[in-house]
Symmetry: C2
Subunit: 332 residues, 2 copies
């Protein structure tokens, strides 16, 4: 890919126009664009404006109905996304868990029936942590990943993310429970490239480096083993059966993705000031540990993305793929 640097505010203006041209309200467009810019500014280009290209561009989504709250309690909501874009519905859900946890100590929101992935879980977990709350966020997606000595796709790539407030920036960690993302397969296929060995199996369970074979087969769990498959199943349970979306199902690529958002006030257990002090101390102890031969630094979760985002904010410039910019018809 050829990358180019463009002005963040110029890109924001163009993105907002694209979504509004497609019928999204300014508020809804802003919400989706906030997410996309966060991802590209973080250097997570596989979760940014690239989602506006390909066979199912984000801006072309036609929601089936308004976002509906199907259950509402003091601590919780179940939200039917009406096949709206997942980053939009997920940001509303994030706002709700923050509000509920601020008021009652804990908030949990399940989201069903969104269209496509909500992207990087770190985005939502970070928002929660910036409100002095602990965020735990996870999403299920159509079955693409196997496990438990099976050769069938069982779970999605099922990411989970955590955010913790500290005395400094929040600590944010997110990961897919699969060895690679489904999007990685799509990209490799589009480019006519192979995928690395030990990532996927074909439909008969044989190892494959062909992305198309892997798409009709399955990706392996991230540790290629039982624990990774177990964690993938836990995410499937939390974001599938508990949100009443779908599970172990690859027939729902267009809707019924599910997500779960939780926010916990540390104050339920200890004063928030003390928690943040403790958390920062943990981080500094990890950072001061001896690095192994050949390692450049002790790199902590989320650190690279945070540095990339700060640099983009400082310079006002964000790096994006020139091919995508061209495909979107943007000129800078």
């Amino acid at each position: 890919m050829a990358y180019m640097k463009v002005k963040v505010e110029d890109l924001r203006t163009k993105l907002l126009a694209t979504f509004q041209d497609k019928g999204f309200s300014f508020e809804d467009a802003k919400s989706v664009v906030d997410y996309l810019l966060w991802a590209d500014m973080s250097g997570i280009n596989t979760q940014g404006i690239i989602k506006m290209t390909g066979t199912e561009p984000l801006q072309d989504i036609k929601p089936k109905h308004e976002i509906k709250v199907e259950r509402d309690t003091k601590l919780s909501q179940l939200v039917n996304g009406g096949a709206n874009p997942a980053p939009l519905v997920s940001q509303r859900a994030t706002g709700v868990v923050i509000e509920k946890a601020k008021e009652h100590g804990f908030g949990i929101v399940g989201v069903r029936n969104t269209f496509s992935s909500n992207g990087a879980q770190g985005f939502y977990a970070e928002k929660i942590a910036k409100n002095d709350l602990i965020g735990i966020v996870c999403s299920r997606s159509p079955a693409s990943t196997t496990g438990f000595d099976s050769v069938d796709p069982l779970f999605g790539t099922n990411p989970i993310g955590f955010g913790f407030p500290t005395e400094d920036e929040p600590l944010v960690f997110d990961m897919a429970t699969s060895a690679m993302t489904f999007y990685g397969l799509v990209l490799a296929k589009a480019r006519g490239e192979k995928i690395p060995a030990d990532m996927a199996i074909d439909k008969d369970g044989n190892p494959t480096t062909d992305p198309e074979e892997a798409m009709s087969g399955a990706i392996l769990p991230f540790d290629r083993g039982y624990k990774g498959a177990g964690l993938g199943m836990m995410v499937e349970m939390l974001a599938g059966p508990l949100t009443n979306s779908a599970w172990v199902d690859n027939k729902t690529f267009k809707e019924e993705w599910g997500s779960l958002f939780m926010a916990i006030d540390p104050n339920l257990l200890i004063d928030t000031v003390t928690f943040k002090k403790n958390a920062s101390d943990l981080i500094s102890k990890v950072r001061r540990s001896r690095k192994k031969d050949g390692a450049e630094e002790i790199r902590l979760p989320g650190e690279r993305a945070q540095l990339s985002r700060k640099e983009a904010e400082r310079s006002g410039l964000v790096e994006v793929d020139a091919v995508i910019v061209k495909e979107l018809g943007y000129q800078f």
Copy 2:
């Protein structure tokens, strides 16, 4: 090890007598013994009565003070264990999260200052799930496991466990975030055996198969990579800084182990009956998937332990290590 089968009720009687002889009340003795028998009946012998042998036998613990509740809210408690045995304090904590979640939808209890590990997280997660609640449980332990390109021990073996109610038995999954347990090192050393390759490093960061070198070095994360280290760090955050116990610290082998217990009522999002139906459907879809060549069965989390326990309940017999039985001075 030479295993022998003994009557569950005979063993229970002897264990209760041992703990009561050492000064524990009947109620406290029963609580610890309930845990130990659960582990051995589950076939998890590394977490059962073996904890009554070695350099720090469970029954020899001298608590420093009564269990104290340091914070109590509608949804939460922070508990100071007073260096009591962790399985005892953890069962009280489990009871509290169940009660709070039954009443308010969510319960969270942090436990600090317990002596030794609380054992298998599945024990507590299952208790929560048997009450039609979702359990998430984790524990930190003294630093023994490395990560993030470090050669120092950073986190404990930091297990995490999940329990979900279903239409049948609960689905229970637990795992250490380290490649092997610390107890595995202790056992290998005692037996004069090597540990498998790619499990641990020595104090200079070199691969080692010598358990003693690994003890002064560090165990690797379960996936030998960044995600496993990240998950270990998340558990450390939840069970350390949040419970105000300890973190990234190997000087606290005798106390300040920390644990976190959470119970979530599925009813916050969907009716419990629907959740259990959904969860069972997920499980049956996984179970019906095609198994890979050479695999005997699609083995689900917790299944082997559940079968072993049911068999022990049916027969009234439990398999234990003859050497341990002898060491405890028990005759059958």
